[in-house]
Symmetry: C2
Subunit: 242 residues, 2 copies
DNA sequence: CGGAACATTGATAGAGCTCAAGGAACGTGG
DNA sequence: CCACGTTCCTTGAGCTCTATCAATGTTCCG
């Protein structure tokens, strides 16, 4: 009962590169199956040599890294269209964990097939590299934000970026976005304590810039938010979908 | 007066993957020239669509990102063997800047050739992806350190990691390493203020864990340092050299 | 109804920032 | 060879931001 690549719901969104019928068929050959998981399911473990890679089709998740003493960093949010497990695919070992926050559906690829993909299709190999470069880009931006910005700025930056990604995938309802994460997750993403995260959110609430409750995030005043971060995040162009 | 790939000094170090004579010859075809730059030279600019990519052969540099108001984050240090400009190559635009800190020698590649490389050599394409994944890994680690660790821990982590990279390339002289950077660079790398960076260094000096002066860094007690960060950084395996 | 998970709030302490001043190292020109 | 400027490093003082501790509130579910 797996989704046919030719009927992939993501490709209809207009945010992913168009592929020819043949190209889609080619990718389909690498699709090893489909996985549906419940909230909280770990998908990839830091340090593991996962035999599978995934493309998220539906649902939201987290990429996390954990220090020896248990402190946790949310390295990125996982959205539909994200390619997961590349590190294991090319370096033999995951350097972060991935877990599902909501129920998720994922396209499953065999790690052992990645090499065949590189051999048989330079275009797809290029797309995979694109994803790696994009992830690098995102992490660099996060690093800069966390390294240089104050708590309030970070929060504004993080929510803005989150909302932008939702919008691109049409997950939003106007200026309201699904937000199935706990404040603790947000704290771990921004490098703030839970308490301070909560108080920072209060400040943004008082300024009518943010509403966050019952799993939903609203940003009624995007310009106001952007003013805190020195400009709106750039709109991203079309991107490849593996 | 360019270095012949077959005689590349880096390949002799034993830390890079061995390539056959044919493979080296293949890479040589993509080598567009060699560049020697003085300290302070900008190599790649954030936002630019650089027509060239580089492999660092000699010297040290910085990858940086700058916020609208001028705050700067050092995203990584540049060592020999690093591949520079991949983002421009696959995404059409650099998302960070790269500058030389010492005099540097670089191997120059034409950005327009990257596509040919992917078509003609899946192995090299894979290597490039490996580099992207490795950079992602590094940034994730930095993000986690900066997001979760205290100033003292960050400093210990940063210096440890820096020393490890030096050792791998045999740039060290026992437990002493070249360090041509200013404390301001270190501060920007760790997300600390210059003053606090200096005071944090003092603490490590008092504990006899660090010596840093006149362009040289010494770590006389690696175990003591590692105790601050919850373990030594892992030794990295062989890696590809483009 | 009771418990668990998560959100909120107040009080207090401390880590880290900013400001300000001075010192050391180094190159340049007289 | 010395005076001077520039750049970078160092140190102290005061204050702000953020973490921690502790308690209470809310929501949801069995």
């Amino acid at each position: 009962m797996t989704t046919d690549c030719a009927a992939c719901p993501l490709r209809r969104l207009g945010v992913f590169d168009d592929l020819s019928r043949d190209e889609v068929a080619f990718l389909q050959r690498f699709k090893h199956g489909e996985l549906r998981v419940e909230p909280g399911t770990p998908l990839l473990m830091e340090g593991s040599n996962s035999p599978q890679m995934y493309t998220a089709l539906h649902g939201l998740g987290l990429r996390t890294k954990t220090l020896a003493d248990g402190r946790r960093q949310v390295v990125n949010f996982v959205f539909p269209g994200d390619f997961l497990g590349l590190q294991a695919g090319v370096m033999g070992k995951m350097r972060h964990s991935v877990e599902a926050t909501t129920q998720m559906t994922l396209c499953v690829f065999d790690r052992s097939e990645i090499w065949n993909l590189f051999r048989q299709s330079p275009e797809r190999a290029f797309d995979i590299t694109w994803h790696a470069a994009m992830e690098e880009h995102f992490l660099g931006e996060a690093l800069t934000s966390i390294g240089q910005m104050s708590g309030l700025e970070r929060m504004a930056w993080g929510l803005q970026r989150y909302a932008r990604r939702c919008s691109m995938l049409a997950l939003n309802d106007g200026r309201s976005y699904p937000f199935p994460f706990r404040q603790q997750d947000l704290a771990d993403a921004l490098g703030l304590s839970l308490v301070h995260t909560n108080k920072t959110l209060q400040k943004l609430r008082e300024r009518q810039l943010v509403a966050l409750r019952s799993g939903r995030l609203s940003l009624p005043d995007p310009e106001g938010l952007a003013a805190l971060t020195g400009g709106a995040p750039e709109t991203e162009r079309r991107r490849p979908l593996i």
